[in-house]
């Protein structure tokens, strides 16, 4: 917008890991009072860039300047004191400490005479900061009691308190409710008004378009395009990111749903979590579950799969009635569950692809006395790796942790495909993975459904739900608020259903 001098200027940034170049001379500028959207697929070099700016990594080559002066951070601490605040995707807060302690943990003010904390000073500054981020909580509240969105505001307050000149946001909205996202954007606007520059990394391109004044697209460690937002459209960004124009993002399915229900949920209820939830899913059908973060959609999935308890209701899979299921029973009944927490619940990160792939279907490889047939394990794992288009077929040698997020997600899917589930529950299957990998996930889902399985799909992206589902259920505060057939899909109506309480029932 303005022709002001850039706040942070990066030029010719290069970095290699083990002889593999991941950044080839990246340039971009961040201007005061503006947000720069940094977009690209996973592995395109975004994180490496901001890690260099944040002092976590050192560049092999390239120059950075901050406020016109050369800038070479030696450590995250050095970057922080130079005025760079880095708000990581996984928030750096300590649940066992209070809000005020978290705000000042690395520089708690000392008492004038004694080597003790000056509690009064801490309190006064904390109150002021909380006011700036519009968080109405006593500063002595333990952080463990805060929601994800509230925690993020604490991080921002911390950045303000450190007089940050540039704030880096890494995927700030993934775990926020819509309301919290709105509040975040308000605060971001306020930061801009103070002249603070921002780097905003996100896969949620809508958000990027909404927040950022400038956009830089990275692919394979190089800048593919950059400039004011007005020069970009969603389609252009995507085509730059993946290197080709994607015409149909959501592939068509050829086979319509059949009549037989695979899953029936009857009167499922749990105080404080879910109320009288009843629905069914038919063979060959994809049912989308739309709802805001915290609307109870993941909780519903976890209850169906037996991970969380419920107090009333029952679940019927095929002809099996599960009154009080455990995950094991759910799996035996033909369910599969891709959780939203890939690292924590989906994979054994230190284990090989093969060891992960067979985990849910061990019985298939067992002969008498539970002996496993390793040869069969290896061949079938390889077959599965091919089926989900994994980047490698070295299934025995490669550990899950060495793969990209998209490939890790494919392992989790492959693990469940090993069982040919009758019902596949997918909780945010494309979160944090790049556009290319998303396409592949969609393709796999379709193939599965065409073969007669049913899918319960949870996603924060309305587009994704609309693109994949045969039917969409909306959930608000643990209650179903609507059911929409494909013909009735409408972005605005759906948005309305997920953001409003159900109408009072007649009678």
């Amino acid at each position: 917008m303005s022709e002001a001098r850039p706040l942070l200027s990066v030029s010719g940034l290069a970095k290699s890991f083990f002889g593999v170049r991941v950044l080839h001379g990246v340039d971009f500028d961040v201007f005061p009072g503006e947000a720069l959207g940094l977009v690209g697929e996973n592995g395109s070099g975004k994180s490496t860039c901001v890690n260099i700016i944040g002092g976590v990594l050192k560049p092999d080559a390239g120059e950075m300047s901050l406020n016109g002066a050369p800038y070479h951070p030696l450590s995250p601490k050095g970057a922080a004191s130079a005025g760079i605040a880095f708000i990581h995707q996984e928030l750096n807060l300590f649940g066992n400490l209070s809000i005020e302690e978290n705000l000042f943990i690395e520089r708690l003010p000392k008492h004038r005479m004694l080597p003790l904390i000056d509690r009064r000073a801490v309190r006064a500054r904390a109150v002021q900061l909380l006011r700036e981020v519009e968080l109405d909580l006593p500063p002595t509240t333990p952080v463990a009691r805060l929601s994800q969105g509230e925690r993020q505001l604490i991080e921002i307050a911390k950045a303000i308190s450190m007089n940050a000149k540039v704030v880096i946001f890494d995927e700030p909205t993934t775990s926020l409710t819509r309301h919290e996202v709105d509040r975040l954007f308000t605060i971001i606007a306020r930061l801009k008004a103070r002249g603070i520059g921002m780097i905003y990394i996100s896969h949620a391109l809508d958000d990027v378009m909404a927040v950022c004044e400038r956009i830089t697209v990275l692919r394979d460690g190089a800048v593919l395009g950059g400039g004011p937002r007005d020069e970009f459209s969603l389609a252009r960004i995507i085509s730059l990111m993946v290197g080709r124009a994607i015409d149909t993002i959501y592939p068509e399915r050829m086979v319509p749903p059949r009549a037989d229900p695979v899953l029936r949920v009857e009167g499922l209820a749990q105080p404080g979590v879910a109320k009288d939830i009843t629905f069914d899913i038919k063979e060959g059908e994809v049912v989308g579950l739309g709802g805001l973060m915290g609307s109870g959609r993941s909780e519903l999935a976890r209850m169906i799969f037996g991970l969380d308890a419920f107090s009333r209701g029952r679940i019927i899979v095929g002809d099996k009635v599960l009154a009080n299921p455990t995950p094991r029973e759910a799996i035996d009944a033909g369910m599969a569950f891709l959780t939203e927490d890939r690292r924590g619940e989906g994979l054994l990160m230190d284990f090989s692809i093969a060891e992960n792939t067979i985990l849910a279907a061990l019985g298939r490889f067992a002969r008498a006395a539970g002996m496993l047939e390793w040869r069969k394990v290896v061949t079938e794992s390889k077959t599965m790796a091919g089926r989900v288009h994994l980047s490698t077929d070295r299934v025995v040698e490669t550990r899950a942790k060495h793969l990209s997020g998209g490939n890790q997600q494919k392992i989790v899917i492959g693990k469940w495909l090993m069982r040919m589930p009758k019902l596949f529950i997918l909780d945010e299957p494309t979160r944090g993975i790049d556009v290319g990998a998303k396409q592949e996930v969609y393709r796999i889902i379709n193939a599965l459904v065409e073969a007669g399985s049913a899918v319960l799909l949870i996603s924060s992206e309305i587009e994704e739900l609309m693109g994949l589902s045969d039917r969409i259920l909306t959930i608000y505060r643990g209650e179903l608020t609507g059911s929409f057939a494909r013909a009735a899909f409408d972005r605005e109506i759906l948005m309305g259903a997920v953001t409003r309480p159900p109408r009072a029932e007649a009678g």
Partner: protein
């Protein structure tokens, strides 16, 4: 940002692979034996070799049990109490001086009771960890104190002496009923075959279980990440309980071998083996944080420790020297393990 599969650094040729391989500790054993040879030439005599194999058996069995618990990210400190309690319970049943079923007829019930004691304590540990949500370290610390105390108390009901003797010949014969006697040159290899056979069976059984069976996959998965294991339909609680029970039964088996060897049920039997057992397993390379460990490693670790013990014994090293050297070896093994991981595998 981390480079994908196949790109992780692979340095060094044969030597590099050797250092990284699971036979590394075995190699260390061989090097150590060669280095010690000039000082204790008797080390390579058939007698000493026989003794070493015999000495290894009880330690090996209890260490194998411990491996299971460590792999599921637990730890079992109560093994020493299990050894002692099973010894006195078994002895109290079959002792010819006033046992419940004196004589050879009582041997089988006694052995079953001993294994039962081990299984029961293991089960209690496992249930406490899963059902009561207690950390394994503290559960087994408490059960160790309790059952060690119980073993001593129990003994007082059966004898005025400090231990229960007069065990039937069938039981004491377990240890040296079948002895292999094989003259090699001037020296004679004598080896009690039954205990060695039991140890071999336990080792092979455990190895096959961990590396080749479904249960093995369950155990590794639970140790590596309980939540993933649960979501994948693995019966996490049963697996944990089973691992503790296996550990208890192994300890009881060691109790059987030791009490048969000493022909006595002593309530302080095995009191000092805990650190040796954990030391051996860790020297082998099994992780205390779960998900990583192998029976072959444990075998090497036990071999190393017994080798060390034997040479120091033959050298007539004083107790304090033995303590210092053992501590240093454990530390060195841990250092080596982190260093070789750092240099050869990770970055």
């Amino acid at each position: 940002m981390v480079p994908d599969a196949g790109r992780q650094a692979r340095r060094g040729g044969f030597a590099g692979r050797l250092v990284r391989s699971e036979y590394f500790v075995l190699l260390l054993c061989a090097l150590y034996a060669l280095a010690a040879y000039p000082f204790v030439p008797v080390l390579f005599s058939a007698e000493v070799a026989g003794n070493m194999i015999a000495d290894m058996s009880p330690l090996l069995i209890v260490a194998v049990g411990q491996t299971f618990v460590l792999v599921i990210a637990g730890i079992d400190l109560s093994i020493t109490a299990v050894i002692a309690l099973s010894a006195v319970v078994g002895a109290s049943i079959m002792t010819q001086a006033g046992g419940y079923l004196p004589g050879n007829g009582g041997v089988l019930p006694a052995i079953l009771a001993m294994l039962g004691v081990g299984g029961a304590v293991g089960l209690l540990n496992g249930l406490s960890v899963t059902r009561l949500n207690m950390p394994p370290f503290l559960v087994t610390l408490a059960t160790r104190m309790f059952f060690a105390g119980l073993a001593i108390w129990y003994t007082t009901f059966h004898t005025t002496s400090s231990s229960i003797a007069d065990l039937p010949p069938l039981f004491t014969g377990l240890y040296d009923f079948v002895v292999l006697t094989l003259p090699i040159g001037e020296s004679v290899l004598t080896l009690p075959l039954l205990p060695v056979l039991i140890a071999v069976i336990v080792v092979i059984g455990a190895h096959v279980t961990l590396s080749r069976t479904m249960l093995g996959r369950w155990i590794y998965a639970v140790g590596a990440n309980r939540r993933t294991a649960r979501v994948s339909g693995i019966p996490v609680e049963s697996t944990i309980i089973l691992a503790f029970t296996i550990c208890g039964v192994c300890a009881a088996l060691t109790g059987i071998l030791m009490s048969s060897r000493l022909q006595t049920g002593s309530p302080i039997l095995g009191e000092n083996v805990l650190l040796d057992v954990i030391g051996a397993v860790v020297i082998g390379g099994t992780s205390l944080f779960g998900g990583k460990g192998k029976i072959v490693w444990t075998l090497s670790g036990v071999l190393f420790l017994v080798l060390l013990d034997t040479t120091l014994k033959l050298l007539g090293a004083s107790l304090f020297l033995i303590f210092i050297i053992k501590g240093a070896v454990i530390l060195a093994a841990a250092t080596l393990d982190t260093l070789r991981n750092r240099i050869f595998v990770e970055h």
